[in-house]
Symmetry: C2
Subunit: 438 residues, 2 copies
């Protein structure tokens, strides 16, 4: 209770991993929570690439936020886009409201901002139309449309060279998403679509994985990178390491080596999975509070995840650079577990203060790293334990099913995966969405 | 075999119920089949409205055509839009090819055209943006987006009158699709979203079902229409019978009675499910062959479903008017079973002729009529047997699951339905697709 008897108002911006955990942790406390998101669902980001490859349907990895909190009377969900903050007046400005109102201003006593990140195009936003990413559901569906349409185009294309370009798939970035995506495209060509076409051999498809570093999955120990690379090559993926993308257009990708040698690769399908840039909300918070902003657009927060001079404003997840008690920048990876732990921490800190206690600094518990490459192939690095193959893959499956929100989605995804494993098929292979653009 | 030793070439236009059955019946005959469709999937049309209400995901009622025929080496699938016919040269013109080629011309020995139909807007195509239909997958997803967004808008709308307009849903046309859709929207308001919003009562939503006739489901005997109407009213749907829509804009629908009395109903969500107009391919066939075209744009075919003067060209389904042996127009309903039987008939007729026999005239076997209204409520009229309630509903469930293509889709839909039945929820409630337009 605040002095005037009204309940403490918490506004949470963003219904991703961080925001969702924050609301969950707070909902049984004596607070009024408003969760603001521009989408009406929580998206299980680590599996979005499987929507792009037709392995899963969009709804299976998305959970309506209202449904998640329907039983919590003190949680309100507001659909809208946060356009700014007034930290001195303690208000959040929300635009793009569903009824067409220009803007609402929402008051808060405590604020948690968890706006996430998106892919950076190395400053080349003009590449975006030629190389959609697999971060948002819509762009993942666009990637699916392009992958499937490329095979359709190859089927009617009579010119061998043009057909080869339709059958060349380039994935930019060999982090977990890029690796998983390249592996799945290879499986589509090798198994799923193998008998679907009459005028060409789907196994002739080339899948190229472009990476600036000298190995894939740089977040993992080198030994696991090597295993992952071998698995990829066995699937038919060609890693192009120590190569940087220097140009993309509608029909090709140009890559350069460190020595500046350029190669133009004719390719009609390019998918982007490289570089990270923080949500614009980080910049808005920095401008309002005077906090520092780093090169990736992340705002600096203290050991308790609050903005300097604003103990009532928490920011977390991919959009922040956390500093330790001695001012040192902490190297936290841009992973769901980090955002989830930070969300729970920020919520807990608010609850502690309501009870008159000061919270301990945030401490990240590293639970390890997982990446899957394909059918029964994965790598795992869990507290120094390095796993690969079937054991790592089963761990990956279990962890992802466990963290998926909603029992129905878990059951549906489990069925889809079992089916795919047995039949080597992909259940969700329809080309829909906008008109085909080419 | 034809005289020159090449196999008989059959082109099938349209992968709907008619076209799919035609290919299935022909695939084991000594023929080369090309199936042309502008989409890469067969759509289970009778359940598209359940995608609009979030009960099912899009992919669950769509089956990739290549997947259906992957084991049939003599079946080729071509993704493209049929732009015309050259009946004298026996060629089909196909545009909008996936590789960007302007047009391919496909030769045939026998042709089966099954282009289907779409909703007519009573000549008011300008209403279409304000009142999407639930025929195509994309428009169904647009309807879903609008239904869910309307509730979101009501949550932030402070003006009572404007909020009432957001909570008014108008369905135009009380055929099976309109009735089922109105029933599902009522269930969404009453059960699914009941605890999701904080600033209004979802059960205050008004669902209006506008119909020109004096009863709903005019395809059924009057007794079943009455039962269906009672079920609808119990769910909270208000049928507006003997009313015609005379205007639609972004914020309202205007209806008129037979006496010309007009009423303007403020409503932000309108769904169209009335009137039928044949595919434009009917007109193209009529122009080429000189066959008659009726008011609904349907081309006339003879008792063997062929065009006059063209025994090698079959047309069927919603886009044709079949004439009996004595030239009389047959009254065949625009239902999936009709198209399926016609598809099998046309394919069988081609096979018969290859074996030197002449086919019998087409004969429709009426298997009855089914419509569901909501949870455990349906009506069925099967060879004079009139059923309603749970028995009719279970029949409806069984028949729809049986005709769905693909075991995986059957399992997934069965799970969704069971879940919805138990929890009164709707599994697929995400708002995605284009930007919200209002």
């Amino acid at each position: 209770m605040t002095a005037d008897g009204a309940r403490h108002r918490v506004v949470v911006v963003g219904g991703g991993f961080g925001g969702l955990q924050a609301v969950r942790r707070l909902r049984h406390e004596p607070v009024e929570i408003t969760l603001v998101d521009r989408r009406n669902f929580h998206l299980f980001q680590p599996l979005v690439y499987q929507v792009a490859t037709g392995a899963l349907a969009a709804g299976e990895i998305a959970s309506p936020l209202r449904g998640v909190f329907k039983r919590d009377e003190n949680v309100r969900v507001l659909l809208g886009e946060v356009t700014g903050f007034d930290l001195s007046e303690r208000r959040v400005l929300v635009g793009a409201l569903p009824n067409g109102d220009p803007e609402h201003s929402i008051p808060y006593d405590s604020l948690i901002v968890a706006g996430g990140s998106s892919y950076s195009y190395f400053g080349h936003d003009d590449w975006r139309p030629f190389a959609p990413d697999v971060k948002l559901l819509e762009s993942a569906l666009e990637v699916r449309r392009r992958i499937l349409t490329a095979f359709e185009a190859a089927e009617v294309e009579e010119d061998a060279e043009r057909r080869a370009a339709w059958l060349t798939f380039v994935v930019v970035g060999a982090g977990p998403t890029g690796v998983e995506l390249a592996g799945q495209i290879a499986e589509i060509a090798r198994d799923t679509l193998h008998r679907d076409f009459r005028s060409f051999e789907t196994r002739a498809a080339r899948i190229l994985l472009v990476e600036t570093a000298d190995r894939v999955l740089t977040q993992f120990p080198p030994r696991l990178s090597q295993r992952a690379q071998r698995s990829l090559e066995l699937l038919g993926v060609t890693p192009l390491l120590e190569r940087t993308v220097v140009d993309i257009d509608e029909t090709s990708v140009t890559v350069a080596t460190g020595e500046g040698e350029r190669e133009r690769i004719p390719a009609r399908t390019v998918v982007w999975a490289a570089g990270v840039v923080a949500s614009e909300l980080a910049g808005a918070l920095a401008a309002e509070s005077g906090a520092a902003l780093d090169r990736a657009g992340r705002v600096s927060v203290g050991p308790d995840l609050t903005l300097p001079g604003h103990p009532e404003v928490f920011a977390l997840g991919d959009m922040v650079q956390v500093h330790g008690p001695n001012g040192e920048a902490l190297a936290l990876p841009g992973l769901a577990p980090v955002a989830m732990q930070e969300g729970r921490y920020a919520a807990g800190a608010i609850a502690e203060r309501l009870h008159g206690r000061e919270p301990e600094p945030f401490h990240y518990r590293d639970k390890g790293n997982l990446a899957t490459i394909g059918r029964a192939k994965a790598v795992a690095d869990i507290k120094g334990l390095q796993l690969s193959g079937l054991v790592a893959w089963l761990t990956w499956l279990f962890v992802h099913l466990f963290y998926l929100i909603g029992l129905q989605n878990r059951v549906l995804v489990f069925i889809r995966w079992t089916w795919s494993f047995v039949t080597r098929g992909r259940g969700s292979r329809i080309i829909s969405g906008q008109e085909r653009r080419r």
